[in-house]
């Protein structure tokens, strides 16, 4: 796989700018409820974007924005959905935790542990139809201790379904430390319980995680059965906006924000290797922020859903 460093950098930067634009809506209460940003976890989103085909399916979690963008969900409609506008992906009914884009085979769920089963359904269909697509089920470290992790990997392996289980291990499930509630030091090693390969990669090293995901996806796409990829990372903000986040040491957070920022890391690397100049990278950042700021302005101008339609869409039209 040939990587385009500038493109990797740009995609990460756009993702972060997207979430930063959303954050503005939290300040103003335009976004109420608990927004979960992916800031700090951009490299994993990029890894997805690099390897998926339009026909692959992705089922994500409460922390889904970057996965949606990676899958090709239109950012404008996604942001409008996060702001719960009638123009949103789901006409403001779903909200930030529940974006559904059937065209791009993307969906998410706000229930931990509920993403893998749905991904399994896509994988089953691909296998049944003999299609060369894969289904990616994404979950956090916390979700891997949910029973569905076991059930889904078992079924996928027993029936050799094209499921890639991508775990974003940011070491915390809200305040609960992974190591305090998990019997093994890594998630990848649990793959052996399903006779599949599990792999762990630094999810803040954009090239490493991109290559690892690409290999994993290729293996599964080629009929190798399901696979498990654990990408380590760190969540930069509270679990949700409004989270007091006093369960993580300030020192830890500060250190991690420097050491594990995928954008900063990659920036340093690109500069070191002379792959880009400061000015070029700054321009990419500025352009991304500009794009998202403009998008935000647009979205803000959109209408909220009309209360008269509150009861629409519960059931499909009768045949």
């Amino acid at each position: 796989m040939k990587l385009n460093p500038i493109s990797l950098f740009r995609t990460m930067t756009r993702m972060r700018a997207f979430d930063e634009a959303c954050l503005e809506g939290v300040q103003t209460f335009e976004i109420h409820g608990e927004l979960h940003t992916g800031i700090g976890q951009e490299a994993i989103g990029v890894a997805l974007a690099q390897s998926l085909t339009p026909n692959d399916a992705v089922v994500s979690t409460h922390r889904n924005h970057f996965h949606a963008l990676a899958k090709g969900v239109p950012p404008r409609a996604l942001m409008a959905e996060i702001f719960e506008k009638e123009t949103g992906l789901c006409r403001g009914r779903g909200g930030h935790m529940h974006p559904f884009d059937p065209e791009h085979h993307f969906s998410a769920t706000g229930i931990v542990g509920a993403s893998l089963p749905v991904a399994l359904g896509y994988a089953y269909k691909f296998k049944m139809m003999g299609l060369p697509h894969i289904a990616v089920g994404i979950c956090g470290d916390g979700a891997t201790n949910h029973g569905t992790f076991h059930e889904c990997l078992n079924m996928a392996a027993a029936w050799s379904l094209p499921l890639v289980c991508l775990v974003e291990n940011n070491e915390y499930a809200i305040s609960v430390r992974f190591r305090d509630v998990t019997a093994t030091p890594t998630i990848a090693e649990r793959a052996s319980a399903y006779g599949i390969t599990g792999r762990r990669v630094d999810g803040t090293d954009v090239e490493a995680v991109t290559l690892a995901f690409a290999e994993t996806a290729r293996h599964t796409r080629k009929g190798g059965g399901p696979s498990l990829l654990e990408a380590t990372c760190y969540r930069f903000r509270g679990h949700y906006e409004g989270d007091h986040d006093n369960y993580r040491e300030r020192a830890e957070k500060q250190r991690m924000r420097v050491e594990m920022d995928p954008i900063l890391r990659y920036r340093r690397e690109l500069l070191e290797h002379g792959a880009a100049t400061e000015a070029e990278l700054d321009a990419i950042g500025a352009k991304a922020r500009e794009e998202m700021t403009a998008m935000l302005a647009d979205v803000r101008a959109d209408a909220m859903p009309d209360p008269a339609g509150a009861m629409d869409y519960v059931f499909a039209e009768v045949m």
Binding site: R91, R93, A114, P117, Y122, A123, T148, E151
Partner: protein, 334 residues
């Protein structure tokens, strides 16, 4: 159209067979649906006919294979997911009510959910964890249709309707009906051989009558028909309404009858409180006015887990004898 007498489990299996033949996107999955043909035989012969990708025996992983059904439906298939007994819904309700039932709405109508949950309920002496009906539980949670057939004919026609529906449907069979012989059905067991659809949401008047409106569904219809026949000899003329589905609830048909009789009895094999029986009563009052009924009675399982001993179960679960008793009491009271 050829019509034969078959039993309810055959009717379901036949409907599945025909719908699967008709539409390649229909897939059946669940425990023991394949090699065994279903613990009640309601998926017999399907594995042989359609193979293991379309008739899938699953491990005991209900949460995940229910969610797998959700994913299949989103991917364009029409999954029928069997949860062997309705009592087990506690292990997979999450995918049923938070995903299957809500995704159409949450997606702003962009995603259809043509999925059927096929399950068996009812009391046949199987104690607290293998009895129950629980249609009230599903019905309280918005976004799914809830169907419970009574007649053999409806087992076939409603299953076809459920499969063809673009809405999620919870299809609750009754173990007692599945085990009943064709010849023993009071509501008849003549079923057309060809595929047909019984529309979901329309109640059926199983017996016309003028004195008391008796509303029920599933095996309750058989019990009610027996009770109604019994008290008819005593001059009590009960109208028996088979709801067929709880969501949608055909208030129209019930209210029209109750307006005539002035007396409403709801017979429910599910738990009494916070369920079907109060809802039927209030829907009727909302339609006819708060003082429209002279008599209101509910006859249901009185909020107690189902005991193992038959002597106790019989004391708690509505049956022909207890229904006849209630009908007599109502007739005597005015």
């Amino acid at each position: 159209m050829t019509v034969r007498k078959i039993n309810a489990s055959q009717a379901v299996a036949e409907s599945l067979m025909q719908e699967m033949a008709r539409d390649e996107s229909v897939v059946l999955l669940g425990e023991d649906v394949g090699r065994s043909g279903g613990v009640f035989g309601s998926s017999r012969d399907l594995l042989e006919r359609f193979g293991p990708m379309r008739v899938r025996d699953t491990p005991i992983s209900e949460m995940s294979f229910t969610g797998m059904g959700v994913g299949m439906a989103m991917a364009g298939l029409r999954p029928v997911v069997e949860i062997m007994f309705v009592d087990f819904m506690g292990v997979c309700l999450e995918q049923i009510y938070n995903a299957m039932a809500k995704i159409p709405y949450m997606s702003g109508g962009r995603v259809k959910m043509p999925m059927v949950i096929k399950t068996a309920g009812g009391n046949i002496g199987s104690a607290a964890q293998h009895s129950q009906c629980l249609w009230g539980t599903f019905a309280h949670l918005p976004g799914m249709h809830v169907v419970a057939p009574a007649s053999v004919r409806d087992h076939k026609g409603l299953m076809a309707a459920a499969i063809r529906s673009d809405n999620p449907v919870v299809f609750i069979e009754h173990k007692g009906l599945l085990l009943k012989k064709a010849k023993d059905f009071l509501t008849g067991s003549e079923v057309p051989e060809d595929a047909f659809v019984t529309p979901i949401g329309k109640a059926e008047v199983a017996r016309k009558g003028n004195d008391i409106t008796l509303v029920t569904l599933s095996a309750g219809v058989e019990y009610a028909m027996e009770a109604a026949a019994e008290v008819a000899a005593e001059g009590i003329d009960a109208e028996v309404i088979d709801l067929r589905s709880i969501v949608p609830l055909d208030t129209e048909t019930v209210a029209a009858s109750a307006a005539r009789t002035g007396r409403l009895l709801v017979v429910d094999e599910d738990y009494l409180s916070f369920g079907l029986s109060a809802e039927v009563v209030v829907r009727v009052l909302e339609k006819l006015g708060p003082t429209a009924l002279r008599q209101i009675r509910r006859h249901a399982v009185p909020d107690v887990p189902i005991p193992a001993a038959l002597s106790l179960e019989e004391a708690l679960v509505p049956g022909p004898a207890s229904i006849a008793r209630v009908l007599r009491e109502m007739a005597a009271a005015s």
